[in-house]
Symmetry: D2
Subunit: 376 residues, 4 copies
């Protein structure tokens, strides 16, 4: 192999034209990608491009997808270490390639050592400006929004990064259909009030203000994950909240007990199998409260609670929670949208919605958002 | 990252149970994968598996796909060097995973330096036997069969490995639908008589007897590419020949001239745009001749000439060539099958059939083969 | 033509085995079919079957569909008069045919002269018992449920019976998917509180107790349309209410004025385009009230408010109305289900959902009902 | 019912603007529709239209379909007698409706009494000119082309008119996709050489020159069925011949014996299940001969032998027959096209291709014809 002698190394912060997707601290030396769907994007005129990653983890390794001119061309595991990955080579040096390097794995609250960073590129051409897209979308969700189950055989049961995808995902598909850029804030097993296991700490709202507040540990702190997010820098046209599935699951799960304090928590079922009124009320208040918080940080965005890919048991309560918020505030830019349910034909791995279920959800959701965005 | 201390390194030749797909020399130390779709397959009971590759090329880098329990989970470029790639980690150590590491790129006749080898594995479990599938298929073809254009945006024009795929390919899909193992012998731009550019050396029949005879150079010779193929070791139930597209193109292309000898060659068009009778006859004889050769090496296989994904101009001549062979030999196990044409909706990159065109072809072809294989 | 001499005429009331679908007075001499989807069903062992219709109207002629062994084979206009229509002939006399003669047109509140009656049959065989299906469904709705727009070119604008269908309809498709028998109570332009034009008389709840109370005139009175419906005779497992689309339209339509009393009515829009709180409240009370009435007459049925094929502006209010009813009564067998929205590809004639939109709605709705009916 | 007093009766021959589809004698008083897919077409500006039919048969009754503005709105059996059928009523009198009344049933060689005639119309408006479409297609075929099996449940086995359709048919769909007018010459069970039962009289070529020569009896003679067809009046751009399926069946069927002369006929199978060379040759000569005859009458048309919806056993012989014709004549405007095979999912009634199989065939065939017609 003859190495390409025209490759020039540049730190990310030295590149004039690039675009970062997803919440970050703003640092480019290096760039830390926290959330699934976060990415770095280039318009690259040249023949060969490499990216220098630095990766670590205790348990769960990150994966990336590579998208060239809108088409996914590669998806790979990133093992621990600092090394170069070739994005493309041998291409026409005069043609401009739009390139996105996308994090396929969600932020991992359960692995404080899991990090994915980009230091530099090697390239034999020049980078051109990346234009803004007409719309901005923010998705907030759980395992469905993290794309858990969109990769792998139906029989798979291990909870590992391999089965997650940001690209085979209704978030990416919806953004694509609407020609929008997007961000994702998501965590498997979490809810708006509690996690699937009644753990009250596993709620997205508590961490919304931080760059990536659901992470833990000194390493993430040093990376800036707990800094205040700069909301002014990126105001979405719509925020899609796909939460409630784990809150519903909590009613069916055993009591949660804090290993340290012994504190317990349980969303209760009545004997006839229906939800305890009081606990349902707590959920509704969590819905209302999260909307209020979202409005604080997103002044203009339409807030769409989108739910239903794994059944709709919480939908009446979601409606009540949204309704209560609207009545209190007079906010007219809020709505609820029911997503199509997964079927036997569209199930993926780990009993989660498969890629066809995501396609269907994206089709319905993008049709709905189209109407709203026209009015923005 | 804490390394997995249970990983044990083994040379491929030391592994009791594994299965190699595609023509090889038989050597496992290392294993050289020549053809697209060639692969190594394991039934692996353990939590973490790595593969040691050795890769080189002058121009065109190989790519691999990873298939776990029948689902494609990764696809990546392999740059030059000798290194380890992690196939999976963190999985349930007690569950058996069926794993296939598949070469995504065709044998590269134009790059004598292009090699992909597998030396060893690191694994923390045990390998179990890989059962044989009920059928064996061999596909022989050109760029269509090499999956050129099944990856990438429609606008792509560079001739690079990135746009090739063995998995997003009618060959893999057909084998899958029939629960068959399969091999592929294919080369972009080649034909049964000449290449698209009238080059008479670019024909598949001349190299059929060798392991991978269309390669060139001392390196490939040393790797055994020019050895006689061991046909006894693997007798297919059906051989599918998807050739003729480039032979048809030759009529529309300029004369070929040998740079060294000055010898020229041209499949001629008449003034009214139809094919010169004599040259068409040569094509038909090449068809007949190839069938005769295929029968020599594949005593029982049904021979199916399957053609049509990029138009059917050569189909009458193919029928005549097949007919002539049948009349001369009395061989009843030969037929022609027209594949569905690519449409505007199913075109992929580089004006080649896209993944939807391959799905459609596989659906029709597997339906047809099903009938034949029932009678085998 | 040689007439079939084996045909024997029988009044409908003389036939031992037949099944009537849809609300009727119970009379079979003749049988009056009021609602769309109402039908007479036979298991007929014989070669030739004729039906004697009596039809009249001032403006709108009825249409019928003929279904044999589950497949729609004919659809035709029935002009005024009393005459025989051949259902089948020349069939194997020994085979049993399941035959349904289905009214394709809704009850026509705007045409007091529109009637469709069946007097008798001519048949050369014997009728066998028609078995009950495992489930019973009742659909209540507006033009969508009447199948307006499922027949005809997109450009059609006339409001005529030709564009209506009971068979190309989500009601029939849903019942089919669930192997259920079904009834339809529907009227184009009507709502749960008012019609699309604010007419407060155009609401379905006021007429629910009668056999077909939305009709008018002495002729319909004589036919028994205003009699009390015999609810004990047919108790559904689920009632699907697809109302709200015209109630939503009323907010956008001019004030309604009673030509006689001068009384006016208007669901008001605020200046910012949102709904007047008071009027929305009236709608919600109409929703609650209708559920209460439905429960009075359907003791065991699951009540599903299914809405969304032409947008979801009233969905929050529907949820509030349902919620209020549930809170007041403790009734647990009530839910709301959002139907998929019509898209540009699925629009039919008269800007109404086309047959593809109905297929999609039926797929989602039947998946949802399946879960509920399993628990019945 | 108040009759429409504005209706005016006109004999068909008195109408200035109308278009007749399908081969006829030219007579309009009355118009006899012989073939499936034959039709009368109007551009009618008015509110109400009736058609006067005269129908008779000994065994098999005709059916019609009604198409308004390109959408099928009605399909009904026509019983024996002379009577009026209402096509539409209550429509906007100022809008122009394109109306086609289409014969759904093939010409019935087995029922010399089967006739369908149109005498007159009653209309309250005026007829406008019907424009020619850019292309003309002629289809020649057997039961597949007659649409046998596109209506009715899979289990149906009776051979009756109800299961035939001209509209749910690849012929109509292909013409529609290409914006072409079309004619159909077809007969269930017939071939290019013999019928499925080896009957040598059941071949289409022998009757090609006549208006509808495969009919029998003095009644059809009086109607002009045996007159010479006026080929000059309608020259197609392409003739699609879908024959061979019954010729293939003949090899599998018992010997045919003429009840009168005792003459026998049999396409022979060899002991190994392959076709007797001599008989296959006869078939090939029939193919060549039919092409020669078609060319005599259709000077410019592209001749496309399209075959494969029920398997492809005769395809090699068809290719040889076509090839022989081309070699003898030098005719370049001839080709063979393989249609997609019926699958388990696309089977209709009577084990024939269902409507989905016809859709698929039309999609492939129209794509192929598009290329050819562009060059016309």
């Amino acid at each position: 192999m003859q190495p390409n002698k025209n490759l020039k190394q540049q730190g990310l912060s030295d590149i004039e034209h690039l675009k970062v997707h997803g919440r970050t601290t703003g640092s480019l030396s290096p760039l830390t990608l926290f959330w699934t769907g976060s990415a770095v994007e280039f318009n690259a005129r040249g023949s060969e491009l490499w990216i220098e990653f630095e990766v670590d983890y205790e348990v769960y390794e990150p994966w990336i997808g590579i998208v060239i001119n809108g088409a996914a061309v590669s998806r790979q595991m990133l093992v621990a270490g600092r090394y170069w990955v070739c994005v493309f080579r041998g291409m026409n040096p005069d043609a401009v390639k739009n390139v996105r390097i996308v994090k396929e794995l969600q932020a991992m609250s359960g692995d404080p050592g899991c990090t994915l960073q980009i230091h530099a590129v090697k390239f034999d051409g020049e980078f051109l400006p990346v234009e803004d897209k007409p719309y901005k979308l923010e998705f907030i969700g759980d395992s469905i929004t993290s794309g858990e189950g969109t990769v792998g055989a139906k029989a798979e049961e291990d909870w590992i990064p391999m089965w997650f995808s940001a690209l085979d995902n209704y978030t990416a598909m919806t953004a694509d259909a609407l020609n929008a850029e997007y961000r994702v804030i998501s965590q498997s097993g979490w809810g708006v009030l509690t996690g699937w296991d009644n753990n009250p700490n596993c709620n997205l709202p508590d961490h919304y203000e931080q760059v990536c507040g659901l992470l833990a540990g000194p390493k993430n702190e040093a990376l800036g994950a707990f800094q205040a997010n700069d909301f002014d820098a990126w105001q979405p046209d719509a925020v899609i909240i796909n939460l409630g599935t784990n809150d519903g699951g909590a009613f069916q799960s055993p009591e949660w007990r804090d290993a340290v304090t012994g504190e317990t928590r349980k969303q209760r079922l009545l004997e006839d199998g229906t939800y305890h009124e009081e606990d349902l009320k707590s959920f509704e208040q969590a819905v209302s409260g999260f909307l209020a918080k979202l409005r604080t940080y997103n002044k203009q965005a339409h807030l769409v609670w989108a739910y239903g890919m794994l059944g709709i048991p919480m939908l009446p309560a979601i409606y009540r929670g949204v309704d209560a918020y609207v009545r209190e505030t007079g906010d007219k830019r809020v709505s609820v949208f029911q997503l199509p349910n997964m079927t036997e034909e569209t199930v993926g791995s780990r009993s989660h919605p498969g890629v066809e279920a995501h396609h269907k959800a994206a089709k319905e959701l993008s049709g709905y958002l189209q109407e709203i965005l026209r009015q923005v």
